[in-house]
């Protein structure tokens, strides 16, 4: 009797477990627990891929300004999860629209990082050594951020941008790994969804979300709310930017711009934020670009008062490289003798790689209440580069800068072409 009872009980437990398994199996997707709040939507790339084919796409695409190679591949891999198509959705011949998630979930591209970061810095990079048969992995848990590593020299990584006929596709694998980073596990659905447990062929099929992947991201972040801010167009005139769309707050909004700080640590990955941007009709807003601290790439709008997943718009291409202010190509290397000056302390800025004997202008922006920009822009100084394309400038840290974070960037004009430097950040004591 005892044996029959045990057998019956055991069978019922297994049957119950199988019922739940069958339910999940019918759905296909799975979750690993957790989700990314709005402060964890950033992602960056430390491009230390060593294979030549991982960075041999040098063709720019207007829908993805400023990035090529592995960085562009990974950017597109993340953008596929976004709520709506990125810009006009173009830029990948293997899919009609990049941006198919349909949930209240948008990654925010933050460009490059100077290092691999810590396990919660949201940086994608490669790792050297034997892969042990693994293509890439994502470090979890995700709630406080994540880190993705590709086994860089163990596989023949390809950056596309079109179809990939040999090796492994960075974009497809990035899309898969970023699916883990937002909280998805593997799918048992048929039809090779992105979150399949294994990568089929070269992995280009994993670039495009399948219906099961979309159901998965919607299960974590809910289907995209109709009220979610939407960007239809971004127009740049000089340093004035006008965004048109819908769902903007009539009181204040925050505009997210890509930060121009190449930072590999915990402090990196923060977007440059222009605060207090009103939109009286909820469909358009105009703001002034800070002089420095941001980079061309992408832009998003967040309603200031909200903090739910649906208070952030999808990301949209933003290219203001010739619009004055920041942005540009960062071809000039700018540095300073200290990054934590005290008021009254002398500061020497120096640079190299600038156009020979061409005029320069060092500009600044600063934040009143970090990390939000206000309209505090100005010029540090002007002059001419040396005949070796170098330069330096001495200034005394103003007393009024105490306690502020200042972003400084160089602009260099030669034959009508504007090039610029990296941005440096000064935290004034």
């Amino acid at each position: 009797m005892k044996n029959i009872l045990r057998l019956t009980t055991g069978s019922l437990i297994l049957a119950g477990a199988s019922f739940f398994v069958m339910s999940d199996s019918a759905i296909g997707y799975s979750t690993i627990g957790g989700s990314l709040n709005l402060g964890q939507r950033d992602f960056r790339v430390h491009d230390n891929f060593t294979g030549s084919s991982a960075n041999n796409n040098s063709t720019n695409h207007p829908n993805w300004p400023g990035y090529t190679g592995a960085e562009l591949s990974i950017w597109k891999g993340g953008a596929e999860w976004n709520s709506r198509p990125h810009g006009d959705g173009s830029g990948d011949s293997s899919q009609s629209d990049v941006g198919s998630g349909g949930a209240n979930m948008t990654f925010f591209w933050e460009g490059m990082a100077s290092g691999i970061g810590n396990s919660n810095d949201n940086i994608v990079s490669s790792i050297l050594g034997s892969s042990g048969g693994v293509l890439a992995y994502c470090e979890t848990p995700i709630n406080d951020g994540w880190r993705i590593r590709f086994y860089g020299d163990a596989w023949n990584w390809q950056d596309g941008p079109g179809s990939v006929n040999s090796g492994m596709d960075i974009q497809g694998v990035a899309c898969h790994e970023l699916g883990h980073s937002l909280g998805l596990g593997h799918s048992t659905a048929g039809g090779s969804p992105t979150m399949n447990a294994y990568i089929s062929g070269t992995g280009t099929g994993q670039r495009s979300l399948a219906s099961d992947d979309i159901a998965g991201v919607k299960s974590i972040y809910s289907p995209m709310a109709s009220s979610m801010p939407r960007i239809d167009n971004v127009a740049v005139q000089g340093s004035t930017v006008t965004i048109t769309g819908s769902g903007f707050s009539s009181s204040t909004n925050r505009v997210w711009l890509m930060s121009d700080l190449l930072d590999g640590g915990n402090s990196g990955g923060d977007h440059a934020t222009v605060a207090d941007v009103p939109s009286s009709n909820g469909t358009s807003m105009t703001f002034q670009l800070p002089s420095s601290g941001w980079e061309s790439g992408c832009i998003a709008v967040k309603r200031t008062t909200g903090s739910t997943y649906s208070d952030l718009s999808e990301s949209h291409p933003f290219d203001a490289a010739t619009g004055g202010g920041g942005g540009g190509n960062d071809t000039v290397a700018l540095t300073a003798n200290t990054f934590t000056p005290s008021p009254g302390q002398g500061l020497t800025f120096s640079w190299s790689g600038a156009p020979i004997s061409a005029p320069y202008r060092l500009v600044y922006s600063f934040t009143d209440y970090s990390p939000f920009f206000s309209t505090f822009n100005g010029v540090v100084g002007t002059g001419s580069n040396t005949a070796w394309g170098t330069g330096s400038l001495y200034r005394v840290t103003p007393n009024g800068a105490a306690g502020r974070t200042v972003f400084i960037e160089g602009q260099y004009i030669s034959a009508g072409v504007v090039s610029d430097s990296n941005t440096i950040r000064l935290d004034v004591q």
């Binding site: 050297l128 050594g129 034997s130 042990g132 992995y137 848990p141 492994m168 990568i199 062929g201």
Partner: protein, 178 residues
């Protein structure tokens, strides 16, 4: 017999649901054989973790499992130390999506493990559980003999099968490769 099949299938499904989240290439048995030099059926007799920091990189934690059993490639008695990335070392954890599920590598588990050599994983490791969660498979006893639990399409062992059948399939795949 039907009950056994049903139990085996249910256990396999449950294991599949607990499996880790490796991002691995699609593998079939032949592909797995071509990429590994050891396949062992046996018992996990030790599980330990080590930490290692590669040059110019961050700390990594590896789990090493020791399997004592029989080689499926040449029928010899072997003991294999095979590692995968991830684990907890002295209270510090590194959890990665490529790890097998904890239920797969518990001490005392009967398993089939495919293993290959690795470089750059530190002084304590010279071979891996190939494809991490894709290279370890639980086995259970049945009246007909040990059964290895498959992990579905895309894995080296797709469906449940007797270990004796797996050995035959390995021999067949090896001879076809020649």
């Amino acid at each position: 017999m039907k009950l056994l099949r049903w139990l085996t299938a249910s256990a396999a499904i449950l294991l599949l649901m607990q499996a880790g989240n490796a991002c691995i290439e699609e593998l079939d048995l032949q592909n797995m054989i071509s990429k590994t030099d050891v396949a062992v059926q046996g018992t996990i007799t030790d599980v330990r973790t080590v930490k290692y920091t590669p040059e110019n990189d961050d700390l990594l934690i590896y789990t090493i499992v020791t399997i004592e059993g029989t080689s499926l490639y040449d029928n010899s008695q072997i003991t294999v130390d095979a590692a995968f990335l991830g684990g907890t070392f002295e209270g510090e954890s590194m959890m990665v999506t490529s790890m097998p599920a904890p239920s797969e590598y518990r001490l005392g588990n009967d398993v089939v493990v495919f293993s290959g050599t690795v470089q750059g994983w530190g002084p304590d490791i010279d071979r891996c559980v190939y494809a991490s969660m894709g290279g370890i498979f639980r086995t259970i006893d049945s009246r007909k003999g040990a059964v290895v639990l498959g992990k579905g399409k895309g894995f080296a062992i797709e469906g449940n099968q007797l270990v004796s059948t797996l050995i035959s399939n390995i021999a067949k795949a090896t001879s076809e490769a020649k």
